[in-house]
Every structure is written in structure tokens, then in C-alpha cells.
Symmetry: C2
């Protein structure tokens, strides 16, 4: 069970330092997050981008620009390629997107010669530190795969379970979410959730306990399960919330952030290294937490 980001960041300080390659790093909030990361001391950045702009913004962010490792590459797409290559070559263990188009950035990730694509499907893992909630709500995939097939859901689930193992959760309890606990042949979320639970029972998906279809209230609360007379091995102790599609995942995440003031972190899994793919609307603290999550997975 993971309680909060502080726990993850403190755990990192005890381990070896990591290196993070940042593509198109000339961005005020990215550099603010880098400044916070350096203060906490869990990783060192390699900054790819416009060296002049980076030096200027670094100063504003309170960084000693002379002490920073900067690779001058003013073009965003080229900076992404060089950052990806540095991870591929083992110079860094985490890749992060700065001020570059997501499509250019992902093209670099997937590039045959310089990229870091592995055997697995790329998928998004998000964590939400939610006021009043005693543990992190860890969710997949609300950011990468749109309407995943059952096969793709297996890939998404395997990526996330491996990530949770790395975070120290030995046998994560997984809720394959749907609108309720009944299998309805017309509701693909329920059919897929049922299939995932059965594949887990049959040993085809290992290292976790998958329950599904299950509704969010049961996954979040043992009391809700009791009230609904649902027998559950995961109710109130769910480590991973597998959402049926990007609409559900995105809306769940935004409800948590906007209505409970949850703090979000996100990371892309399935490549040869964890990828931090923050959006412009994430603040520096969110970027720091995403960096910490990625370093913990590296």
C-alpha cells in the first residue's frame, strides 16, 4: 500500500540517484520542478533544448545554470530524439517531455534508431493523492489508449502490475472497473472485466488479484461492498483501478483533481524506461511528483 508521494520521494532519497533526460527543457515550470528535484536530491537532470533559453529560465528558477548538464538543441523534435537516444544509450534512466508537441515527443520515443520502444504496449499510469483518502489512488489507463480491446487491457494491466511490484506492492489488488458488478453482454466494460478476472484466476495474469466487473464505490470502500452485499477481496484495499476507456479515466482523474483537490502524478509505462509526459496545465509540484514516480519505477 502506497500512502502518498512523500513516501515515494523519501524512499528514493535512500536509493541510488537517477538521471532524467528532459526533452525541450526550456520551460519555466519544468525547470521549477527540476529545482525541487535537485533540492530533494533524488535525481540529476540532463537538459536537451535551447541552451540560451534554458540558462535564462534556470536562473529565474533559482538553479545554478553553470552546474547543469545542458545539451544545446533548439529544435523541439530534434531535442526529443537526442533525449530519447540518451536514455537508449544508458546515459539516463528516465525520459521526460518538456515544451515539445506530444506527437513529436512520442515519435522520438517510438523511433527505431534512437527511441526506447520495448515489446510492450505503451500505457499511462496515474496516481492521485486525495485529501481524506488514506492511500494513493493508482489508475490506468486514462491517458494513452483510447478504447482498449481486451488484449490491450491485458497489456495495460501487466504494465501497471509490474510498476506496482517495483513500487513495493507485492501482490496488488486490482479493480477491473465497470458501472456495476453484473456481467452485461451489452456493456463491454463488464464483459472485459469479467474476462480479466477469469484470466487472473486461470494464472494467465499473474502477480496480482484481479476482481471484476466491480463498480468504483465497492473498489474504494468495504462499507459500500457490505451495503451492496458484494463479497470482495479488494473492497477498500484496491491498489490499482483499471478503467474501461480513456473517457472514464480522464473524467475520473479530473473529478479527483477539480473536486477533491487531489494531486496528480503520471507516467507512461511499457517503453524501455519510464516516461514523464506531463501536460502544460500540470503545476511544478505535479511535475515533481511525476518525476519521483518515474524514478521509483526506473
Amino acid at each position: 500500500m502506497l500512502e502518498n508521494y512523500k513516501e515515494i520521494r523519501e524512499g528514493l532519497q535512500k536509493g541510488p540517484g537517477h538521471r532524467v533526460a528532459i526533452a525541450a527543457a526550456a520551460d519555466a515550470e519544468v525547470l521549477e520542478a527540476v529545482c525541487m528535484m535537485l533540492k530533494e536530491g533524488f535525481a540529476e537532470p540532463i537538459l536537451f533544448g535551447d541552451a540560451v533559453k534554458i540558462a535564462k529560465l534556470a536562473e529565474t528558477a533559482g538553479l545554478d545554470s553553470a552546474a547543469l548538464r545542458v545539451v544545446d538543441e533548439p529544435d523541439g523534435a530534434a531535442a526529443a530524439l537526442r533525449a530519447a537516444k540518451s536514455v537508449r544509450d544508458g546515459e539516463a534512466e528516465v525520459l521526460m517531455k518538456g515544451l515539445v508537441n506530444t506527437s513529436d515527443f512520442l515519435r522520438a520515443v517510438l523511433d527505431g534508431e534512437n527511441g526506447i520502444r520495448g515489446e510492450s504496449l505503451l500505457s499511462h499510469l496515474a496516481a492521485f493523492e486525495t485529501p481524506g483518502c488514506p492511500r494513493l489512488i493508482i489508475q490506468t489507463d486514462g491517458g494513452m489508449n483510447l478504447y482498449p480491446t481486451l488484449d490491450e487491457k491485458v497489456g495495460i494491466l501487466k504494465n501497471a502490475v509490474e510498476a506496482l511490484h517495483r513500487l513495493g506492492v507485492e501482490c496488488p489488488k486490482v479493480a477491473a472497473l465497470s458501472a456495476n458488478e453484473a456481467v452485461n453482454p451489452k456493456m463491454v466494460s463488464s464483459v472485459d472485466a469479467d474476462a480479466l478476472a477469469k484470466m487472473n484466476t486461470a494464472g494467465e495474469i499473474e502477480g496480482c488479484i484481479v476482481e471484476g466487473p466491480v463498480a468504483l464505490d465497492v473498489a474504494l470502500s468495504a462499507d459500500a461492498a457490505k451495503r451492496k452485499k458484494i463479497e470482495s477481496r479488494i473492497a477498500g484495499e484496491t491498489d490499482l483501478f483499471l478503467v474501461p476507456n480513456i473517457d472514464a479515466g480522464n473524467i475520473m482523474g479530473k473529478t479527483l483533481v477539480c473536486c477533491t483537490h487531489a494531486k496528480m502524478a503520471g507516467v507512461v509505462l511499457g517503453a524501455k524506461a519510464p516516461i514523464v509526459l506531463v501536460s502544460r496545465s500540470d503545476n511544478a509540484e505535479s511535475k515533481l511528483n511525476s518525476l519521483a514516480l518515474a524514478c521509483a519505477l526506473a
Copy 2:
């Protein structure tokens, strides 16, 4: 703009009283909600169900069973049919489900001879009174239609806009939700949201302002729109949240209820009268708020 349920209930006390036909009313929490409703005085119940059980439970709930109008019908499906017929015949203006299977209840609603099906698609409207949120979050359709087509989304939207007009919102601001503001041909939620917004501009969907595709953060917050540089006529003032599918709607609703302790009310629209279709896990207060919402729409 609707602030909370209290406003709706107080509005009802000024209007004419309504009658609510309750199918299979022998349920403790249904009768508790009836007791609260009678105290507030906004509607009178007609209770269809096992008269002996109803009398016993009514006493426990603090009701004067002698003063109640009870139609003895111990069979759940038959009680649903008789309750629906009483609405069809104009004896009551609202239909409510008690302790009867949803499928039996809906069969009665749709019954050609006794039911109350109209010309419209049946759809679900939910309202969430959320701590820290200055207005009700009104959402459709997270409970009835699974993966609606564009045509069905038009029907869902028209039902909800008509309902909001009845609630006094003259020209509701509607967010056709997707994961972000870009139209992505692979993301059906974004394509449909774009189509709905264009149909609204073209005058095919009237009486409201539809924006889409729009992500939940922009719909909820003018600041989020500003940060993301999205020009929006609805940001932070959204009256209606149109969700792309039942998974997204259900998970959004359960996030609000479980993580912010929002109070939910729900009603089914599109029949000849509003229908209260609460679930067993809803408490008496939630049932009362659903009753008030339905009476306000009657």
C-alpha cells in the same frame, strides 16, 4: 443556476402538491424517505405493495399508516404495473421504484397497455450536491444508456435540456465531455461532442448552449480554461455535463459520492412522467432528494 437540493425542495413547497406512485413500497428506506417527504409537504404518496408489510414498516418509520393511501398488491411486478397505470391514468404525476427488480419495474414503465412510455428515449439525469462546489453538478446519462450513438446522445441531451428548463434554467450551458478539447477521429466521444456543438450552432438542438469536445476541468473551472488557453462560454458555469458513456458517467458519479461525499439524486426522463429509480445503496436522504427532483420536473 441551481445551488442545492434545499432550493429545489423549498421551491416545491410553494407550488401545488404532487402525487407519487410507489411500486413495491414495502421497504424501510423508501418509507423513511416518504416520511421526510410528508414532513416537508411537497408530495403525497400512493403506496403499491404488500399492505401488511407496508403498515408494519410505516409504523417503524414514524408514519401514520391509517392516513396512508395503500393499494394492496404483494407481487412486485404486478405492483409495478398498477403503479405505472395510476400515473398513466393521471392519479399520480411521478412514478417511483421500491423493492422490485429494475427489469420488472422497467417492463411496467414500457408496458403498452399500462405503461408510460412516451415518444422520447428514456435517459438518466443525476444531480450531485458537492461540498465546496457552489452549484449542483447535473449529469446525463450515467445510468440508463450504455454507449449511446450520436442520435441517442441527441435524445439524451433534449430530455435533459427540457428538464433544466422546468427547473428554471432558461438556457442551460452544456459541456459535451471528452478527454480534452481536440477532435480526434479515433475518439468517438470527441467526434460526437463536436457534432452536438455544431448541431446546436445550426439550430438543430435548441434552448441551450452546447460546447464540445470539452474536458471536465474546463467545464468546471474558468481558471482551468484560462490556464489551458481555451476560449469557452461555459467554463465554470456549466449547467449540464453530458458524459460520453455509462462507464464515464458512473465512475464520475461514484468519484463524487465516495471521494467528496457528494449527495446524489437521480431521475429517469423521457417517459410521460418523471421516474425515480433509486438503488438499494441510496440512503433515505438521497431518495428524498430524488423525489424532490422528480416532483420539480412533474
